[in-house]
């Protein structure tokens, strides 16, 4: 399901560069080179593509570069279509609307960071690596890829400094993630971005570590298990005084969009944070992977949340 064309940040594609095997790097900027809204290292944006697709991409650049959003897109012939539109249709000089940056890593109070990236999953960590390197901070970036690594030009300074280590799975297979994790100091922050099986292996390898120091970056929403407790409920919109029925098998987001309520949406799987809304009364059932416990006390993700009661009041 594509999100609605909400108003966002108007950018132009400043240039398009080769980023390695099947990868193009798009640099976006304001039409007048005004500063863009700030972002945390490893934050992501939604891009509103020609044809109505909305896709989420990590920012690769250091947040100190406040005039550009740099994203890398790998051509995925069997993907959901966003990369094909990007590669086939988006050129330098084109206008693109993007969302405010969301998410990102809080890196200021950790003594060491170990990043594990599977191929193009290196993108958010390149932003973080630039941020940490500029501050002279300690980190290790493992890039696990077959053959030529992605985004070699951006990786080059970190390889030269010894902070980035490349594992070519074509030559030696995928390294045991346990070994990479065990090499990290006990108080290190551990972060992974890559294919689903790598994320699962990473979660197993980090089970003994404090959960607040483990970060898993997802871009393909995990399949939600069927919820046998799910039931229809009434969504009450406190500000607009409307009531919307959410049917069995229907998401709250679908019900809202169906009723003509404009809600930004992107992943529709509870990981990107685009469709976050605040709730006021009731008992939401949270099934997202993006909100903290504290944030859930106030907000929910409309794409995956449901209600334990017959009535849920939201701040819309």
């Amino acid at each position: 399901m594509a999100g609605l064309p909400v108003r966002g940040i108007k950018t132009v594609v400043k240039n398009v560069e080769d980023g390695g095997p099947g990868i193009r790097v798009y640099t976006l900027c304001d039409p007048d080179l005004w500063e863009l809204p700030p972002f945390r290292p490893g934050a992501h944006i939604d891009v509103y593509l020609p044809g109505g697709l909305v896709r989420t991409y990590s920012l690769c650049n250091d947040p100190v570069d406040d005039k550009h959003y740099v994203i890398a897109v790998k051509h995925e012939a069997d993907g959901r279509g966003g990369s094909i539109v990007f590669h086939d249709q988006v050129q330098a000089g084109d206008a693109l609307v993007v969302s405010l940056p969301r998410g990102g890593l809080r890196l200021d109070d950790v003594p060491h960071v170990t990043f594990v990236a599977g191929s193009i999953g290196v993108t958010p960590f390149l932003s973080a690596a630039g941020y940490l390197a500029r501050r002279g901070r300690d980190f290790t970036l493992y890039v696990i890829a077959r053959g030529e690594p992605p985004l070699a030009t951006m990786l080059a300074p970190h390889r030269a400094s010894g902070n980035a280590i490349i594992h070519d799975t074509g030559a030696s297979g995928r390294p045991a993630l346990e070994a990479l994790i065990d090499a990290a100091p006990p108080d290190a922050m551990l972060a992974c971005c890559g294919p689903l099986d790598m994320l699962e292996a990473f979660e197993r390898a980090t089970q003994g570590r404090p959960t607040e120091r483990v970060h898993v970056e997802r871009f393909v929403p995990p399949l939600l298990p069927f919820d046998p407790q799910a039931r229809p409920f009434t969504l009450v919109l406190a500000r607009s005084h409307r009531q919307i029925e959410v049917g069995l098998g229907q998401s709250m987001l679908e019900a809202l969009l169906g009723a003509g309520i404009e809600i930004p949406a992107s992943c529709c799987g509870g990981i990107c944070g685009a469709c976050r809304i605040d709730w006021l009364e009731g008992t939401p059932v949270h099934r997202d992977r993006v909100l903290s416990t504290t944030e859930r006390a106030r907000s929910l993700m409309a794409c995956v949340s449901s209600s334990a009661d017959e009535r849920l009041v939201v701040d819309l």
């Binding site: 108003r7 940040i9 304001d30 863009l36 809204p37």
Partner: protein
């Protein structure tokens, strides 16, 4: 000794106020950071040169809902002080997203009135209303604390150049 005798005669005139421009900000498009500038050029009936709500530019978040009072917006520096004092929130002058930050001006009293901003004559059309958009842009929970003190919307009756340090006074 404190005089507690009831007031027999109300004053004929309210005390006269005067204030000063402390900060000036514009941005060319919605969502983008505001720039602090030492002076701004105001065009009567249109807006501020270079700002998102200038008539003819229409690149603001609310440009789809045009009104005269979007030509220039003002905000009290006293509100920023109160946010810090009462809610522990640090909000900088470039974050409230109004164009002019004033000190010593009772903005909420000026709806429907004309007043001078340096050499420029304004007429206040309504109180500004906080919006969730500002929470989205700043990442700070300031919607509720800004209710009823979110600034003033004005139209520009006589244009000109305004500068930080200019006096604000009744017309």
């Amino acid at each position: 000794m404190l005089d507690t005798a009831p007031v027999q005669q109300p004053a004929a005139f309210a005390p006269i106020w005067s204030g000063v421009i402390r900060h000036l900000h514009i941005t060319p498009r919605a969502f983008l950071p505001m720039h602090s500038l030492p002076e701004l050029n105001l065009v009567a009936g249109k807006g501020i040169e270079g700002d998102r709500y200038m008539i003819g530019r229409e690149e603001g978040f609310y440009s789809g809902k045009p009104e005269e009072g979007r030509q220039i917006t003002l905000f009290e520096i006293e509100t920023l002080i109160a946010l810090k004092r009462d809610a522990g929130i640090d909000l900088e002058p470039e974050e409230h997203r109004r164009n002019v930050t004033t000190e010593g001006v009772p903005l909420t009293h000026l709806v429907g009135k004309q007043f001078w901003l340096g050499e420029v004559l304004l007429e206040a059309t309504r109180l500004s209303i906080p919006c969730r958009h500002i929470e989205e842009v700043t990442g700070k929970s300031i919607f509720d604390p800004l209710i009823n003190r979110s600034g003033l919307n004005c139209k520009i009756l006589k244009g000109g150049t305004i500068r930080v340090g200019d006096m604000v006074r009744n017309a």
